[in-house]
Symmetry: D2
Subunit: 339 residues, 4 copies
């Protein structure tokens, strides 16, 4: 049995991690913690877990975590992760960090988009970007996983085949993203009150969202040239789930038999969690909600391509993909606890 800790277990991704890990036969949750709060049992914090887990959740104590875990999931807001990662790594604890702290290789970009100094630049280069479909081999041996953001997970999975195979005009990429509210975390913010979100839809952080450099970083690497996508996120009045409608101009389309759909199917042919829709079929959030799947539908006509992808922001966009990474790191079946 692998001993795992969930550091930052009072938010949505922490809650979801506990839920998934409780169903994993090779894993035991041995440590939980949360910030800024007195100790309470997990069942007090989340009555839904009553009778299912019996652990006390107090303020994070890194030494205690080190004594109790082989692997630590960090379900923390940005900046909180980099405060404890160095100590965990030094103690040979493997870390899957769900925050943004180690995703961007360029610390200046991090500092620009997140508006804070980066306090652990040293470990940035060691972090492996935890998207299994692209980086499975590096994930296997990583000590530190930078688990992708939810918008980037969906966008990169939807664009990777087209970009990697040079089928898209990189400069033309427009991502119109729609997300459920848990994507923003459990924040006390008037804009997140039920009566503000319900019966509404709005764009926010129009083309300035902090996930943009993360998407550009991965697409640039795939394309071997600098990406600069247009990205507009919108808030949906739903709890979980994300849909991205992506527009680009096609390139080299004659080279690929079966069009984009054929190319995408070949690219992802061994992936257990990617499902490419047939022509004329498009994904919906409901079909992936509560799962680790990414469903992708494709429209193409002349030079126009439209890729529509759906994931559950808390699952493939956060906690389930973190567990998928753990499965890869420890040689468990990659779909364990996820199917």
């Amino acid at each position: 049995m692998l001993n795992v800790g969930v550091i930052g277990s009072s938010g949505y991704t922490g809650e979801k991690l506990i839920e998934i890990l409780l169903g994993h036969p090779e894993v035991r949750i041995t440590y939980v913690s949360r910030k800024n709060a007195s100790a309470a049992s997990i069942a007090e914090i989340f009555p839904k877990f009553k009778t299912r887990i019996d652990l006390v959740c107090g303020p994070t104590d890194v030494k205690s975590a080190i004594g109790k875990c082989d692997l630590a999931f960090l379900a923390l807001p940005h900046t909180a992760s980099m405060e404890i990662v160095p100590e965990l790594l030094k103690a040979k604890i493997r870390v899957i960090d769900l925050s943004a702290d180690y995703r961007l290789k360029d610390a200046r970009s991090y500092e620009l988009f997140y508006g804070v100094k980066h306090g652990d630049k040293k470990h940035i280069k060691d972090a492996v970007y935890g998207l299994p479909e692209l980086y499975r081999n590096k994930i296997k041996d990583a000590q530190l996983i930078a688990n992708p953001g939810c918008y980037p997970s969906c966008a990169i999975l939807a664009l990777a085949p087209a970009i990697a195979l040079d089928l898209a005009d990189l400069g033309s990429v427009i991502i119109d993203a729609k997300s459920g509210v848990t994507g923003a975390g459990k924040k006390l913010n008037e804009a997140m009150l039920f009566s503000e979100i319900n019966e509404d839809c709005k764009a926010y952080k129009v083309n300035v969202h902090q996930h943009i450099p993360e998407i550009n970083q991965v697409l640039s690497a795939l394309a071997s040239k600098k990406a600069n996508v247009t990205f507009v996120p919108h808030l949906l009045p739903i709890n979980q789930g994300m849909l991205e409608t992506i527009y680009f101009s096609k390139r080299n389309s004659r080279k690929h038999s079966g069009g984009l759909i054929g190319a995408y199917k070949r690219f992802y042919k061994n992936e257990p969690f990617i499902r490419i829709k047939e022509k004329g079929q498009f994904p919906r959030i409901k079909d992936v909600c509560g799962t680790n799947f990414c469903d992708i539908g494709i429209y193409e006509e002349g030079d126009k391509a439209i890729i529509i992808a759906a994931i559950d922001n808390l699952m493939k966009g956060a906690s389930a993909s973190a567990v998928q990474n753990m499965n890869i790191m420890y040689g468990f079946s990659e779909t364990e606890a996820l199917l």
Copy 2:
């Protein structure tokens, strides 16, 4: 033109008051204010009102309000009203208070249920309980209206005929109430986040809600004996609207031809905002949402009676009933701006 002020205009009831009053031909909003915040135009606070009203909303300044208004609506949390009512009354400003501060005639009951001292006991006795269907004549000449709470408005309208006509066993009354979230005001509270409310329903303040003494006070007066209703409120994942399902044992039912439905129709026969359903028909929130109506449906079988009533908690349960009171106080058509 009547000059009116909306003191506390940044909450849901203040917003709704502005919306209704903008459509009232005999009224001009001349003063708005809010607590604890720097001055901003109403259009900045509520972009929906842009181009419709051009007033600056700063911290409440009672002297300024007195200089600008004939009538002040107080859309304030409890305790905030009683801090300014004495000064307003002294200056001969008529006041419609939407808070709970002047509803309970027994200050001890107020202090018990609201957990604070009452700071203006002197004016409690002068306040008229602003339910037009029961107290229209007193409202006409009132200086200070205690506008009813949303749960009590619905419960009292649903029970008044049965209690006043001695058709109900007062001790048997059970009120199972369901309310949209705006009933709780615009509070920064984790329990009110979209992701907490959406796809959920729960009871709260089970039989200890602060609206219980208000309901009991009015029913006791109607019955000329002490009421002690059972009351359980529930939170619905909707913005506006309230449904109450009320159970009681019948009394004296032979005396009334047409049963309860007949008795209710006669009781409310001249009321413009009360609609009694035919046998087998029951109200729904959607039919009253955005209106000042209270729809009432009645089931009776043997000794059992079930009364189901629906109102919009922000309209008949707060701001629209306040405007109805204003219409009565100033001799305007009672339905002006409300139909």
Copy 3:
């Protein structure tokens, strides 16, 4: 491996059965069917199951089902089950029927409340009412399980201790029930359109719902006298989940130490899916949604008792409880695939 069929797999309970059974290590789904429709793969009907199950779903063919299954789940509307149960039983197929067809021991009551003739009165007496918490021993050896309705599951679990221990005045029981829309099945009905349900709440079938005789039947048996509960169901604008707020007058309360909460805890002390809340705590739908749990909260003051219970109508109220019954019938761990 147990071979199971899901007959009627295109509705909500069929879909949920497939989802749960796919995670059950001792079971293989070998037959699926649906009514009135041409054959299609499960993945075409439910894109969410693509890559997870590869079966063709055509019109029900009982002979084919008999050849392929040891156990058949019937996720059918009422009257459809009784048309095929005799043939299945004759072929020694064990049956878990999620319809109402075999729940009521009194065929006249069935015919009165469902408005149709009962076509298989012969097997009514053989059917075991599939509520494990009350009838686990009979379930073990049953050939035919009448799986309880969702409202009755919740109501009976919430009332059983009080009634069985004679702590409630049976004549005073009032059940105010609130359910998500999947409780009504996937029916093409204008009243079930999104725009009709959303932002609304209403009562329906006020005290005449067909689940009333089912509740009365079980409570009467527990009390050894005739029950006649008052029952008003309401429709909530949520997909899944049910909350019942139940009112009664207490009896014999001095006899039980720890009050109702103590009595309920003792009554259910070995039940893996019943959780009794501490004093002052009440359940919410969110905590049981997607689970087989029934959470119960209790208020008592003088003679008044209020029991609030929550289940997921598709899980503990239908498909998960059906799997719990299967686990009992075949000696699997009772919580397999359910925790």
Copy 4:
């Protein structure tokens, strides 16, 4: 008093027309009808209108309508309007048609996108496209108004200044639209059930929606060259409201001081229902819901432009804009009953 009829009053746009017209001081509803149904009072069809309007609504009888109205609103599905428009026009009844039947000047395009023959090609050329902000002068004297579709209303208002002033590369226009469910009308369709829409979001009719030729027709006229926009509509789990996020490459931007925002403000400077947001501000559905406003926010950076517009699909996208057209046609204040 103007006598108006609402033909097709049982759908969402008919209901909304009645609601708005009941508040219009210069108008009297004298005729209502619906298809395929026996006669019933409006209050039976819509209990919300009980005590507010007393008319019987039976199957449409054109002669009766002609006898009772000066103006007929047709809130009908496409093809139903063109069956009765000729007779109405012949009788000198002015018509505001909310269906798609007279919007497209090219009947072949209509037949291609709507999949039916056009039965009244003769009157197509007489119809005035009822978008007041562009065609106010023609509307004034029109006998037949083709009231715009909801998606086109929003898209055209959001694009008109940029296209008319040659500030946009017409070939680059991409419209990502999100609409509440009432946009699709009150259809009995499994996909529109609450449990299908709630907690979901999906694209549909990807780049093949029947509103595309309508948008292209108007933009082509403004640009004096052929438009061919990319258009992907999405369904939001809300009742009312629409948001469109529109992407294009800028042209000639140096020519306009104040950038796009300045150009848009000047273009719409006298429009009572268009509100242009300041830089960095974007619209939300909630601010326009229940109103005739179109709120527009603009992002521009280098060559990239993003225009975000919000309307209420039933108001500015249908019934309120129809009333605005009526106000223009009869010389009423243009904002009567709409502000």
